[in-house]
Amino acid sequence: MLVRVLVLPRRAVLDPQGRAVAQGLVHLGFPVRDARVGRVVDLEIDAPTAEEARSLAGRMCEVLLANEVVEDWEVLP
């Protein structure tokens, strides 16, 4: 089943990519104060239940998909 995870830079870490995006949007006239740019990973997981698939996805984030030193992750509902 499909599980989507979201990985974003931690707020405490300078995200120059997010800052550049925010500045670009401001330049285009949008009232943007901040932006953070991360990644979405869609996973096709073989698991008996959705709950187990989501739990596995969380483990995947801890082990590979996110670097917890600098990134926050979330398994999306």
């Binding site: 830079p9 405490a12 870490v13 300078l14 120059p16 990519q17 550049a20 590979l64 998909l65 670097n67 030193v69 600098v70």
Partner: protein, 231 residues
């Protein structure tokens, strides 16, 4: 001593490391493939720069799971010498062999230029033979070292910082920091001092004509330390 250099798919600075070992030092080279189960008897292992696994996901994120990393981990745990250069530094951080993480340069640009470095510790195998400052080129887009504040404090407090970006005269200053790295850190060691990670490439300034050749001093320092039994 035997010098191991690891090659992952996408590593490209292994070639320069081969050259330093064989031509610069006249030493025995052991070429290590990322799938190898052991280090071929290498006394020091160089994890070179490049773009292992295309920098996919995060720099070094995938290389960290290569089969050879287990042997490197064991070697490091026994006090064996491991040196990560650029992507190698990123891999060692991802593998947890060094603290913190290397993230995107503050200015977002890939920077390719000579970096003057102040040598913060001269008591390690890596640095015993080094002058107070030396120059090595940097070529990276993800060279900014960051860590949680308590980790930064510990790294500084324990004297784990080995190289800092500096002006040519050796003064460490923000204007000499090319990528926003915390406290201008360009290279550091683990608590035991046997695992070194550095973003600049000493192997790219190891021959006159490619710079002043002073990068060779780092490798000669390791060799001298090993010969003297002081690693």
């Amino acid at each position: 001593m035997k010098w191991g250099v690891v090659t992952f798919p996408g590593s490209n600075c292994d070639q320069d490391a081969f050259r330093v070992v064989e031509e610069g030092l006249g030493e025995t080279l052991v070429r290590i493939w990322h799938k190898d189960a052991d280090l071929g008897g290498a006394d020091v292992v160089i994890v070179p720069g490049g773009f292992s696994f295309g920098d996919y996901l995060r720099c070094g994120a995938i290389a960290r799971f290569a089969p050879v990393m287990e042997a490197i981990r064991t070697h490091a745990a026994r006090g064996g010498l491991v040196m990560g250069i650029c992507n190698g530094f990123q891999i060692l951080c991802e593998a947890g062999l060094l603290p913190g993480a290397l993230v995107r340069n503050a200015g977002l640009r890939f920077i390719c230029e000579d970096a003057a470095l102040r040598v913060e510790r001269r008591d390690l195998p890596w640095t015993r033979g080094l002058p107070e400052t030396f120059v090595a080129p940097i070529a990276h887009a993800e060279g900014r070292w960051v860590a949680a504040p308590p980790v930064v404090e510990r790294v500084e407090g324990e004297g784990q910082v080995v190289f800092r970006y500096a002006r040519r005269d050796g003064v460490v200053a923000e204007d000499a920091n090319p990528n926003g790295s915390t406290h201008g850190i360009a290279g550091l060691v683990n608590e035991g001092g046997n695992v070194l990670g550095m973003m600049p490439h000493p192997e790219r300034n190891a021959e006159r004509g490619f710079g002043d050749g002073s990068g060779l001093l780092l490798f000669q320092s390791v060799l001298a330390s090993f010969a003297g039994g002081r690693t």
